[in-house]
């Protein structure tokens, strides 16, 4: 039996250790805000925080999550919208919106390690998150907006 936390709550798991965290979150816990996009850590739709840092949950096997604290999109706004979410609304970022929870989690992680990111910082960190609708310029603008808000 593996013990870990999801959004502050204790959880345990004794199923197939190869199951990716993504499918545990979505199918077992019913936390569907974390999206499936590629299954190979290529698109970032499944991004969650592991002890505060962005990871791809689609390649993180359940056998490796013991003792970890996982945070999903559902939890970052438990006390009202997060600065990143506010900025996303301000800039009207989403089109279809499917990739946006992953983009937001990646941006939250970026801003916690780099509070005032340059264009290069943003590009290099956010390049792992694909948006097929092409909202990149608004994502970049929203990250800068959120950085300002938090400063």
């Amino acid at each position: 039996m593996i013990h870990f936390k999801v959004n502050g709550l204790d959880q345990s798991f004794d199923g197939d250790p190869e199951m990716p965290l993504l499918w545990y979150l979505r199918d077992i816990l019913g936390l569907t805000g974390t999206k499936f996009g590629c299954g190979m850590a290529l698109c970032g739709a499944c991004t969650v925080l592991q002890n505060g840092t962005a990871i791809r949950s689609c390649t993180k096997q359940m056998g490796t999550v013991a003792g970890l604290e996982i945070t999903t999109i559902e939890a970052i706004s438990s006390h009202g919208p997060h600065a990143v979410q506010k900025a996303w609304a301000e800039v009207n970022v989403p089109q279809c919106g499917y990739c946006q929870p992953g983009q937001i989690m990646q941006a939250v992680s970026l801003l916690s390690s780099t509070p005032r990111p340059s264009d290069d910082d943003i590009d290099s960190v956010m390049a792992g998150n694909i948006c097929r609708c092409g909202t990149y310029q608004r994502i970049r603008a929203a990250i800068k907006e959120a950085a300002k808000e938090r400063a």
Binding site: I28, F36, C38, Q85, A89, P94, Q95, C99, R138
Partner: protein
């Protein structure tokens, strides 16, 4: 389970009645079927009058508006309801948007072809104006004064002009509900000067739900007792299972059983591909079990398809005389005179849609009723195809439409929903079919590969006296007719049958090609390869004539004329939407001006390229700036697009669509390529089918919208076609290397 609120027409009516609300009438306009691919559209009785569809008002004043078309980032849950809200003189902050189920009484719900606003602009206005008039009449009745003395002013209330008394829409709703529905002739639509929401920018209705990870999408649907399924599809189109060994699969924790799915009967249309399904109690178990199947396939006749060979055939066909589509003047006579001839061949490969949410559907078959939840662009298609597969009536199938995690045309083909229904019937439980990214890319309805040939006879100034263009591609029609080898009117109308240029002698042709994989429509469809060929050729002619490409493009367009001939659509279409090349010229001038064309020097690794294209009745000009380093790596610092889409319902959404189209176009131009070997698709995921990421997408896209009083045209697709040649023309300006074959990665760039 899922946050998006669906409502069937019946429950909407009942809900309204119980809430003392009312339901209104709207005349459903017939869909211009000409834009459809051959056989792709169901036949709907569009002449019938179907009342009470789009709007209701609750006694607390909340206005409920049904979004009957699919939301996939196109902004349709915002743009159409705001049109209605405007004519209703209601307060947008008190509007709640509800997603309509599949129901042919809405009219067309097939959300493709960039026609949501175009087709429903008038219907939404009429629905709003009908409701407003009924509320005004309800107030007049209540106060015992003439209707003419009552006015909906300013919002959400009816006022008595002769006194200060007012009644809110909520108070009036129950009274209005009992009134007869006014005739269309009685309606008074607002003048454009009176519009409060139409033409004014507004953000999306659902941004906050999206950004908080609410369960909105098809992938997020959860139904009690639901099983999960993954399907091993035949690697080659039309392939069949010869034998299957599922012993390793059945040992996987969570796997319940395997179920064969019948192969389709040609033509495949929207039928499932067949194969073997693995049913499990979670998605991962289904995927893992699927990977452990040992299947021997009978690949069938398409196993001979190898795209490298096929390319040579298409190119050879493009060099031969083809089927004549449209002729102006006498091009043969002009070519026969000899003189300066310029000719070129172009090639564009297959593409996959790769929407971020792969195909997914949940179906629950109960006795002779089926409920489907699906991210679909085509809910009525889901009803029809599921009914057909299970031997039921269309009315027995309820299709709840979820949000779509991208669609781009893929999700108007409901094969995956049929798979879910077939498996639910076989298991007696609700089943969710989840396609992996590999399924999505390998088993798409692919955008067609195309070879094109263009020849021009030039005068001394380098302007064409005659122009011949020939296009060869396996047609979309092949998905619906077994032996279709020639283009339908749809693809020819997409940037090929007529020329936007002022050329006295012109002919368009089409050559035949047999499809070996499923062919479908992808955002802007044949405009992609046709726009690439025509706009690259125009750019080549400019350099050949030693002219500035922008000036030369204006010369080609001329002062503007109505382009006749070609596919004009149903009666009245060409009158309402004439192809006016003066509008094309205007967007070219606007884009060039805004981009500071000619003020920056091209060459030494930096350059500007331009292209113009009319598609989905919208005129677009795009200027792309590139920087190319000495390894061939391309950056796109700036894109300037000018758009004339007629009246624009929500400029914010149009801007988003054109920003996104530049990124979508960048993916096509730079890396987009699907190939096949022995009938099977070579690509599988984002590592071998890369799409634009933040660091290689355009850094800044500026969208300039032409103020227009012309009827609304289209916005979702028209930004894509000019981007691709504009980018390739910019690469030429920067490097001197001409790109006649997509993608750029085939030309030494990255």
């Amino acid at each position: 389970m899922i946050t998006i609120e669906n409502v069937s027409r019946r429950s909407f009516l009942q809900g309204m009645l119980s809430a003392s609300g009312f339901v209104l009438c709207a005349r459903i306009l017939p869909r211009p079927l000409w834009a459809e691919a051959a056989g792709a559209s169901p036949t709907i009785d569009t002449t019938a009058f179907h009342p009470g569809m789009f709007v209701g008002i609750q006694s607390d004043g909340t206005v409920l508006i049904v979004a009957h078309r699919s939301e996939m980032g196109n902004g349709v849950r915002t743009s159409l309801p705001r049109i209605l809200t405007d004519e209703l003189d209601a307060d947008w902050s008190r509007v709640k948007v509800i997603q309509g189920d599949g129901d042919e009484r809405y009219g067309s719900q097939d959300t493709d072809g960039s026609h949501s606003v175009r087709e429903f602009f008038d219907a939404m206005r009429e629905a709003g104006a009908t409701a407003r008039l009924m509320l005004v009449r309800a107030a007049a009745q209540q106060w015992g004064i003439p209707e003419s003395q009552c006015v909906a002013d300013p919002v959400h209330v009816v006022s008595d002009k002769s006194s200060s008394r007012k009644m809110g829409y909520g108070e009036l709703a129950a009274i209005a509900a009992k009134l007869p529905v006014p005739k269309k002739e009685e309606l008074k639509l607002k003048s454009p000067q009176e519009w409060r929401y139409i033409g004014k920018p507004a953000p999306g209705s659902d941004v906050s739900d999206i950004c908080s990870g609410k369960p909105l999408f098809g992938m997020d649907v959860r139904v009690d007792g639901m099983l999960y399924a993954a399907i091993a599809h035949p690697p080659v189109l039309g392939g069949k299972v010869k034998s299957v060994d599922d012993s390793a699969t059945l040992k996987v924790t969570g796997v319940k059983k395997t179920i064969p799915i019948d192969p389709f009967t040609p033509p495949h249309a929207f039928q499932p591909l067949g194969g073997v399904a693995v049913v499990a109690d979670n998605t991962f178990a289904a995927f893992k079990g699927r990977n452990r199947l040992k299947i021997e396939w009978d690949n069938g006749s398409h196993a001979a398809y190898t795209s490298a060979e096929y390319k040579k055939q298409l190119q050879e066909t493009a060099r031969q005389a083809g089927k004549v589509i449209h002729t102006v003047g006498d091009p043969d006579a002009e070519f026969a005179k000899g003189g300066k001839i310029f000719e070129a061949e172009y090639f564009a490969p297959h593409l996959a849609h790769a929407s971020m949410e792969p195909p997914v559907a949940v179906a629950d078959v109960q006795a002779d009723k089926v409920t489907v939840w699906s991210p679909t662009q085509n809910p009525q298609g889901v009803q029809e195809q599921v009914a057909k597969a299970l031997g039921l009536k269309k009315e027995d199938v309820t299709c709840h439409v979820t949000f779509l995690g991208g669609g781009f045309g893929r999700k108007s083909k409901p094969d995956y929903a049929v798979e879910a229904a077939v498996l639910s019937k076989r298991t007696g439980k609700p089943v969710k079919v989840v396609w992996s990214r590999e399924d999505d890319i390998k088993f798409d309805y692919f955008h067609s590969v195309a070879a094109m040939y263009i020849k021009a006879a030039l005068d001394d100034a380098g302007k064409p006296k005659a122009w011949l263009q020939r296009s060869v591609f396996p047609p979309i029609g092949s998905s619906f007719e077994k032996d279709a080898v020639y283009s339908g009117a749809g693809e020819m109308s997409q940037g090929w049958d007529v020329s936007p240029f002022d050329i006295p002698n012109f002919r368009s042709e089409n050559g035949q090609a047999t499809a070996h994989i499923r062919i479908g429509w992808l955002r802007s469809v044949a405009n992609i390869y046709h726009g690439f060929a025509v706009q690259t050729f125009a750019n080549e002619l400019a350099y050949h004539a030693n002219r500035d490409p922008y000036d030369y493009l204006l010369t080609l367009i001329g002062s503007g004329h109505i382009v006749d001939g070609g596919t004009q659509g149903p009666p009245g279409m060409a009158d309402k939407y004439p192809f006016d090349s003066a509008r094309l010229r205007r967007v070219a001038e606007l884009a060039a001006g805004k981009a500071n064309w000619g003020k920056k020097k091209s060459g030494k690794g930096s350059g500007m390229g331009m292209a113009v294209h009319r598609s989905f009745l919208t005129y677009v000009a795009t200027v792309v700036e590139v920087e190319v380093d000495n390894t061939g790596a391309i950056r796109i610092p700036h894109v300037t697009t000018a758009v004339d889409a007629g009246i624009v319902a929500n400029p914010e959404m149009v801007r988003q669509q054109f920003e996104g189209a530049a990124v979508f176009g960048a993916s096509i131009a730079r890396t987009g390529e699907i190939t096949a070997t022995n009938g099977a698709i070579d690509q599988s995921n984002f590592f071998d089918y890369p799409v634009a990421r933040m660091n290689d997408a355009p850094y800044q896209v500026d969208v300039h919208i032409v103020e227009s009083t012309a009827p609304p045209a289209g916005a979702g697709e028209p930004g894509v076609p000019p981007f691709v040649p504009a980018m390739c023309n910019a690469v030429f300006a920067a490097t001197g290397k001409r790109v006649r074959e997509l993608p750029l990665t085939r030309n030494g760039f990255s």
